[in-house]
Symmetry: C2
Subunit: 76 residues, 2 copies
């Protein structure tokens, strides 16, 4: 079983990495970039029988910081 966890910064949390990407794109001549936010994508290979609740627990314990980050779990 595979799970895909996307972790993004909550709205309002400063994202210096995204800002750096935005400036770099402008420096390279790409116009029209109004904002950039960078997040994480974590792909998990799981033993059969692992439940969505298990993945949720992994997110809360390690994969995301719920204080400043949102996460979304997709099972495939």
């Amino acid at each position: 079983m595979k799970a895909r966890v996307t972790v993004t910064l909550k709205t309002g949390v400063l994202d210096p990495q995204g800002r750096a990407i935005q400036h770099a794109l402008e420096g390279l001549g790409f116009g029209g970039v109004e904002g950039v936010r960078q997040g994480k994508l974590i792909e998990l290979d799981l033993a059969d029988g692992t439940t969505a609740a298990d993945v949720e627990a992994m997110c809360k314990a390690l994969l995301a910081n719920p204080v400043i980050e949102n996460y979304r779990v997709e099972l495939a």
Copy 2:
């Protein structure tokens, strides 16, 4: 317009960060984690009129390293 770029390491490229996450999950008592790969998620806020080809060019120039990474662009 929004674009979502996911950047993942190509198969066969070592992913020490993913490996570290896997070990940490095991250390926390989560069983059944057979593999972890970490990638990047870049969300772009773009001016109207920016095309998919523009985003593709941004990926090639800055957002991904096509030698070791795959990228996927989704426009929304």
